[in-house]
Amino acid sequence: MSKYLDLDIRKIHELLVEKKITPLDLVDEALSRIEENKDLNAFITINDKVREEAKGLGEVDKDNLFFGIPIAVKDNIVTKDLKTTCASHILDNFIPIYDATVVEKIRENKMLIIGKTNMDEFAMGSTSETSYFGAPLNPHDKKRVSGGSSGGSASAVSGGLIPLALGSDTGGSIRQPASYTGIVGMKPTYGRVSRYGLVAFASSLDQIGPMTRTVYENASLLNVLVGEDDRDLTSVKKEKEDFTRLIGEDIKGMKIALPKYFVSDIVDEEISKRIKEVISYLEKNSAVVDIVDMKYLDTAVNLYQIIAMAEASSNLARFDGVRYGFRASDVNSVDEMYGKTRGEGFGDEVKRRIMVGSYILSGENAKTYYDKALMVRDDITKEFNRIFKEYDLIIGPTTTRVAPLLGNSKDDPHKAFMDDVLVIPVNMAGLPGLNIPVGKNSEGMPIGLHIIGKAFDEATIYKLASFLEEVF
């Protein structure tokens, strides 16, 4: 079997331009890899029109690196005429009538959507085990999870089924699975990428981002995804920039902060040791790494629970069995239809979060919990800004442990949040954050470094990431 998909996309592009291969070759290779690795359960739906789409692409566009490259899309991003389930029974027959803005951009750039990836139901979870379709597996050890909620995208890229995928990140859902599976995952600054067509979970936190094998591919894909969009008024207008522009530059003199909390005893010893090795390497190369105190980091999970569950309870009110999706049978009143549809249609994790979210927003509780969480959220953001007055970047481990075994978090409503303890603060402040693999532990499981940047300074994150990518 051909191995074109293992090549860097710049090389694949070259082969396409030279007419040595066609987009159909790439699609066929991806489809056969997906078939051979069915046990990974990385995909919920395969696009059965993708071969036709590949044939219809026409002449290769020499100036478009992504022309004819297959890509996978997380199943909470809507794709016209291609089933979008959010890994939930309540949407398991839902065919969107429009494309998300990011999907439009992918199509404009002539990428080929190979299929929709598995995930935690409505992106709620940290292992993708809440999927109605069963958990995707970790290609490094199939007894382990691939993380969540973008676990299918992580599994597909890490397993070599596809070079590129889209994920979404509300409380670490791109970076944490990227860390567990040893790939590059970026959550861009809130507002960088339009959320139009991303099925909303927690609107003030959600952001779509690229999941790839290399830093260069990640930055290049982000170039495609960004931009202001009138259909998402939280998207922000910015000058067009090339996120690859600092890749390969020297890091001499770069000032990097390492918050004490990120190397405290909540982190597994082998991971801490590896992070220290990374720091030594950075210092050897004339970067400055200082350990700093940052307040409120330990409150972030608590804030996330309150804000995410409250916003989810409101956003998921739309799934009522009226306009789309599953509707329970044998109902005699509208109230009964709502209750039974949601009772039968949602899984346990989603039900728990909607119920607690409804409680948080009811009556005086909104002040006690939600308003207070927003106040502390403002403080945590100010803490980040204080550090960024002196430092270019903040680093730490992405996760406290390597990918856990399947079933480890089952029925423990608390654990699902604790897996994301190190990545959640970034969503609170709306900052960009990236996972880059920095080696493996003694069991052969990937360890990830988390790089956090100033708002809208993804380019500097890519600069450091590319520097480390060469070595670790």
Binding site: N302, Y324, D371
Partner: protein
């Protein structure tokens, strides 16, 4: 084990419009208590100022031009409806005589 009362679970389930089976009610009595205890920890944060952050976006007052844009056709808008009658979506009777 620490748990919510049956009534407390039914109350939040009603707020969320989610019907629960007997088995689920028992399970959620324990599981929701864990989450309720988690969110209560916010009360322990003492050192904070009272400015609230609703969104990370600094300029959150941007609005679209008030013009008529593209609209969905009735057939597109109802294409995913679980039950329909022509271009209408059917739901159970809402008004009791």
């Amino acid at each position: 084990m620490d748990r919510l009362s049956r009534e407390e679970v039914l109350h939040v389930a009603y707020l969320a419009r989610i019907s629960l089976t007997e088995e689920e009610i028992e399970k959620f009595r324990v599981q929701l208590k864990v989450l309720m205890d988690d969110i209560d920890k916010i009360k322990e944060v003492k050192d904070f100022d009272d400015e609230m952050m609703y969104t990370p976006i600094e300029d959150n007052t941007r609005l679209r031009e008030d013009v008529v844009g593209e609209m969905l056709s009735a057939s597109d808008a109802t294409i995913n409806a679980p039950k329909k009658n022509g271009s209408f979506i059917e739901v159970p009777v809402m008004i009791n005589e």
